[in-house]
Amino acid sequence: MNEQVLTVKHLSVQLETNQGKKQLLKDVSFNVPRGEIVAIIGESGSGKSMTAKAILDLLPRGFTPSSSSVYFLNKDVSAMDKRQKRLYRGTQIGFVFQDTYGTFDPMQTIGQHFHELFSAHMKISKQRAKEKTVQLLERVQLTEPERVYDSFPHELSGGMRQRVQLALALALNPVLLIADEPTTALDLRIQADILQLIKDWCKNTGGSVLFITHDLGVVAEIADSVVVMKEGAVVEVAPVDQLFDQPVHEHTKQLLHYYKELTETPKQTGLFDIEPLVTVNHAKKTYIKKKWFQKQMIKAVDDVSFCICKKEIVGLIGESGSGKSTLSRLLLQLENVEQGAIAWKGSLPFRKGIQWVHQDPLASFDPRWNVEKIVGEGLDYWKEKKENKHQQVKEVLQKVGLSENILSYYPHELSGGMRQRVALARALLLEPELLILDEPFASLDMSSQANILSLLKQINQTEKTAILFISHDIRAALALCHRILVMEKGRKIEEAGAKELSDSVNFYTRRLLSSMPVTHPGRRLQKQTTEGEREYAHQNG
């Protein structure tokens, strides 16, 4: 078992630009032994994906890797000729990426993708290719593989596409699977399935996996050993248990700290104040989706009632398509309810009293405005506050932990975490009584997530702002919220305090809870008991 499938030795990558050379990877070294799952963890910009591309020798133009630093089965990849390289990439390595849509040619069916892969490396009849494909699709637990075979990428859901990617990667029985953040954009339940599939493949075929992620939970769930990267360099390599129990490097410790913060259930719970800010009464909203000749009514929000009280943090969780976002738009009156009512009981005028942070902050900024203008916009519409606008903007930026020298930045120049903070600052400037946060953690690094999480807690405490936290990430909701609402298919199915939720008897809630990755590799074995249940959930999904 000690054979090294992949050896990376002193890998460096340079980017040559007009401004000169830029070192992107510095002296990266690690091994992937046969049959093991090696995880690379690091924040965005740490060079994880670059490493993966360098391993495949497919860096974009202008990026130059140091030579003779990647060995596959003890063969120097950079020394391979063109044909060998094609063979190496196509048949011996499989890969899965985060973007489930962009990695498919939008104009070709899934079947065509498979056929192309097969015919690139072997002579195969159409019929045979189809048979093989259907088998593969079945293996990644796709129901109706025949239908999937004939589908175009855009006709499948993200989870299905990820399974297809996995099937494509495994189609030619590779020795090594490279998975670059394969589950980041997916619901937790699907993430659990995909992880399980990878683990099973590894166990059954003895193949190796190089798994790239920023989520320590995933690492805990899957990895045998871990490579920690920071700013293009490897800072620590360790077996997974050792990493969690005895981290050596400062950066690893920091990561673990953030992770803990994110997964910790708060001590305090319950309501502080029962004065309601907003009450939702039997709200209902349906969209009509016309498909071919029949109309399909989609009940986005179906008879939902709840209230949010002052100073309270309420979580609204559910998987994608459960109606969370529609509900937030109804609350904001960007759309109108069909039935029922939403009553505002705050002391500020409604438009000022409820503020919103969109899941994609970049899209919610006018791209031609700089930070000062974006944040200060609200003041322009509330005349009485117009004086010393500049000062107020600076103050609110400070409040969200941003320095004032970003005032002149444009949205695209900000990092993901900064954008989220700017959006938060814009909302806070009007001193709202209720903040609606729509998936604020989507696409954020763990450190940013943890930082924003504590920022939210702090704001809640100092500003006495109530928060509605909308997320599919049940972990974060548990860590932040006092009270949690669970939605499924437009309906509210459970409402409970954060602490009580973990003991919920509701089947759906239980399933959501069970698909959370473990917080420590040591707890991995217990999870096996839930496998049967997961199987069931999959069938229903």
């Binding site: 069916t109 079947g111 065509q112 004939d150």
Partner: protein, 524 residues
């Protein structure tokens, strides 16, 4: 809808099929070409859209298919054609024509007096959309006397009638129940002339073939092809390559057309002149001295040399190409000094901006020209520039034909001139009885002596006497100019060297009439 294969195949096949179509077309085209032994190809400037002598004037092809009662001779006299002969009543009002007996339509039916009456009635019929009704407006009635005798009665004496009766006669038996404006006949003519239609091609290339039933001199040519080549340089090019044998060229080409190799250029004089017509409704032109001054201000020789490359003549009057010519050159010489004096005499003085002023009125007018006619538009510019030094401000105003209202314009670059009887474009153009809607004295020129002389000349029997009368007329016209005569244009015909028989008869507007003696043409 779901098609998974062969998209590239389809695109390729579309392209291939386009290429194939193109290829096929080529094959097809090649098979149509045929070389006749004696074929004259005439590159025409205008596209021929219909062949019907009643519906338009000045279309060469008409006279090849349709013959009229008369035809012109080399000296622009009148010769009998369909008519064997005629008698004119002493008051010049009743003309009796006797038709020849051997004239037949292509379908074998004889040409009769009924056909003549039908044609002359049609051209005067208000339902016929024709621009030449005016040429026949003096006809009061047309009677059939016998099968081969027809009588035309006029309201007023009209000497050019015999010239006008060269109009092609139409077959009554084919057209009496048709709407002449729209009938198929216009594209499938059945005629009585030396040639008949063989083929009318898509791009308006028309092939005529010798008509063996023709009563007159058998043409030596077997086929005449009318091919539309609108661009004069292409015509020159095709003359050179021998693609066409005959074509009208333009003066501005003379610099580049190299005679010699394949063709010669016949410079044929025409009766077609250009002049500035003064509108006498504008008091500015009342004083004859002013108009004389403007005559002296124009350098006609320079225009001929510069604008026309010498292919034309300075114009001194309306009858310059007629037997009745009596030149008054001294009144049209280029003499700016004299012009200045005359203007001074007339009381015009230069104002502060250099423009002449009299009684608070500035000497300025608009000179209208049809924008589609480059020569007239250029003439308008040149006249404006040449009058400028005198202190006369002329604004050239080129307009579309439909926007031109001549009776409202100050002045207009006009084109007249007839190669026929001197009465043709004089009485109608300068006689004061011809002022009014639809009549030709559009500038409202009025001169009693001119009126009198023209009327007398109309019914005078003796040519010598007429010549004297027209001499008087021209003298008066120079003293009291209705027009500022500018230039006569030459017609420039490029003719293949192998073609013989082209005569240098004075031609009409735009070189019309070159094919008048087509029967005598030959090609080696």
């Amino acid at each position: 809808m779901r098609i998974k294969m062969g998209k590239t195949m389809l695109i390729t096949s579309v392209i291939t099929s386009m290429v194939l179509i193109a290829g096929c077309k080529g094959e097809e085209a090649s098979s149509t070409s045929s070389a006749a032994a004696k074929q004259l190809v005439y590159g025409t400037e205008m596209e021929i859209e219909q062949v019907n002598p009643v519906l338009d004037e000045n279309q060469e092809i008409d006279s090849l298919i349709f013959r009229g009662l008369t035809k012109p001779t080399e000296t622009n006299d009148i010769a009998p054609d369909l008519a064997k002969g005629w008698e004119i009543s002493p008051d010049h009002l009743v003309y009796t024509f006797t038709l020849r007996d051997d004239a037949k339509w292509e379908d074998g039916k004889p040409v009769t007096a009924e056909d003549v009456k039908f044609t002359l009635d049609k051209v005067r019929d208000p339902g016929t959309n024709t621009p030449i009704a005016g040429d026949f407006s003096e006809i009061k009635s047309v009677e059939v006397l016998k099968e081969n005798e027809v009588q035309v009665t006029l309201s007023n004496p009209f000497p050019p009638l015999l010239d006008k009766l060269k109009i092609g006669i139409l077959p009554k038996h084919l057209l009496q129940n048709e709407d002449i404006n729209k009938t198929d006949f216009n594209q499938h003519p059945i005629g009585n002339g030396p040639f008949k239609l063989k083929e009318w091609d898509n791009d308006h290339t028309i092939t005529l073939v010798r008509n063996d039933k023709y009563y007159g001199l058998k043409p030596k040519l077997e086929e005449v092809v009318f091919k539309h080549v609108p661009d004069p340089n292409t015509r020159a090019l095709q003359l050179k390559t021998g693609e066409i044998d005959l074509a009208l060229l333009e003066p501005n080409q003379m610099k580049s057309v190299k005679e010699g190799e394949g063709f010669t250029v016949h410079t044929i004089s025409t009766a077609d002149y250009r002049a500035v017509m003064y509108n006498f409704r504008n008091p500015l032109f009342k004083d004859a001295k002013v108009r004389q001054a403007m005559n002296f201000a124009i350098d006609r020789e320079a225009i001929v040399k510069g604008m026309l490359s010498g292919k034309g003549e300075a114009a001194y009057g309306p009858l310059q190409k007629s037997w009745a010519n009596s030149p008054q050159k001294q009144m049209y010489a280029y003499d700016p000094k004299k012009a200045k004096e005359l203007l001074k005499e007339a009381g015009w003085k230069k104002g502060s901006d250099g423009i002449l002023v009299k009684d608070g009125k500035r000497f300025e007018f608009e000179l209208v020209s049809p924008i589609t006619d480059p020569i007239r538009t250029a003439l308008g510019n040149v006249v404006a520039e040449q009058l400028k030094p005198l202190g006369i401000s002329v604004t050239p105003k080129p307009l579309d034909w439909n926007a031109i209202k001549i009776d409202q314009a100050d002045a207009f670059v006009i084109g007249w001139g007839s190669e026929f009887d001197p009465d043709d474009h004089t009485y109608r153009v300068f006689h004061s009885s011809q002022i009014g809607d639809g009549l030709y004295n559009m500038g409202a020129y009025r001169n009693d002596e001119v009126d009198q002389v023209l009327t007398e000349a109309r019914i005078a029997d003796d040519q010598e006497k007429r010549k004297v009368l027209y001499g008087q007329f021209q003298k008066e016209l120079a003293a009291d100019p209705p027009f500022n005569f500018l230039v006569y244009l030459d017609a420039l015909y490029g003719v293949n060297k192998k073609v013989s028989g082209v005569s240098d008869r004075t031609l009409g507007h735009h070189g019309f009439g070159i094919l008048w003696n087509i029967e005598e043409w030959d090609k080696q």
